[in-house]
Subunit: 175 residues, 3 copies
């Protein structure tokens, strides 16, 4: 079973995603990069730590932006989330200021690898992502770029999933 | 019956929420604080007044940010909306500039009281809220704080509701 | 059949909308104005051209912000999208800086005409729009104005449609 869990911030996505795999004793939890909240507001770090503590003790955390490799590890895999993955990829490649067509080509390459990994994943996969394209046009180019590319990533990876779950105020809608 | 009505701005949330209670002659309509539109653009005041005029004459308006007290008044209660409530609470406590962990603790306290009031509410309750977490990361800390805390409030109060209604372009989806 | 297709940017709305009419050999494709992406980032132009190339060869493109006239042409009509239509109307009328009540009255007039055209449309109609009201309050007045007015437009036109389709990560939810 491959599931993409999407929704807004603080909608309950991560909790729902973890709940989908909570019966499995040995999940690989993939953290693809630093979270925005910790960067911009260290006061939230404690709360995030609390959230982390609810994950079962037997789960393994893998900090890696190499989604293809992470997805093909044995056993269930939970990736939280695709937004931090995209940020990590663009940061690592120092790609934020490049022309749009170049950034798009770069992300397409990474998406092709991730999609291939998702197709070959031997166990259950739950991918958490964010919906960031439902506001007005962001005033900064980086914001416009991010929402376009994350929307693209969501579409591409959703196409390989069995289900897409939209989480709103803690409620789950299977699309 | 306890219902949380959520959706974007100008999606038809308030109209739908009012429709849920329109058969009741004596609803307490709770306005927890000033609306953003009136503050930032007085030209919209007339339109808002028009919207208000569609509420039945027998309804009572209660301007209060004390949700716990408002929810436990006899008869049906309509709160419109949780976003203005959160803003009113943070304004009153002068909390916008405090460290995130302090603001979170403050809002958790208010949410615990509101949730308890919701549990003890003797009549029908309809809570209107906003989804504000589906855009890119806001550039201002107050924006990031608000969307995190409103997302949290929506989750907490939704957990005590019988139904969550998502309104999109005037259409209603029961989650 | 009249359908409003809504969702965030890069959610797959346009592709879904085109798919609804792909069996029709002679669709009028209505482009109501320039797209934001091309204006703000010319690098995306190539990608948009690629998207355009997937439309069947027999389709006719009509560049016009006169929705009422466009909707009453014979045969199926696809409008992509209402956001560019609203922008084109406000640009043409030089209305962005006017008081809110004046802008609202202006848009109501255009919406009344468009709604009437939609009612009289002789063939299938698919309207693509955007959801832009699910983020925090935009910092600029033009952003606030746009999201309010587009929310209103979506509600008004949805009321005349048989179905509203919400597209999320390429998946379609019929509301």
């Amino acid at each position: 079973m491959k599931v993409l869990v999407t929704g807004g911030v603080r909608s309950g996505k991560s909790r729902h995603a973890e709940g989908l795999l909570v019966a499995h004793p040995a999940v690989t939890y993939v953290a693809p990069g630093p979270t925005t909240d910790e960067d911009t507001d260290p006061d939230w770090a404690e709360r995030i730590a609390t959230h982390r503590s609810r994950r079962p003790a037997g789960w393994t955390t893998l900090e890696s932006r190499d989604l293809a490799a992470a997805l093909t590890t044995p056993g269930p895999v939970l990736v939280d989330c695709l937004g931090t993955w995209l940020t990590a990829v663009l940061d690592h490649e120092d790609a934020w200021e490049r022309p749009g067509s170049q950034v798009l080509a770069l992300v397409e390459t990474h998406l092709a690898a991730a999609t291939d990994g998702l197709r070959r994943a031997p166990g259950h996969v739950v991918l958490v992502t964010n919906e960031v394209g439902l506001g007005v046009v962001p005033s900064h180019r980086s914001g416009r770029l991010f929402r376009d590319l994350l929307g693209l990533a969501n579409q591409r990876l959703a196409a390989e999933c069995d289900e897409v779950h939209l989480v709103v105020a803690g409620r789950v809608l299977v699309l």
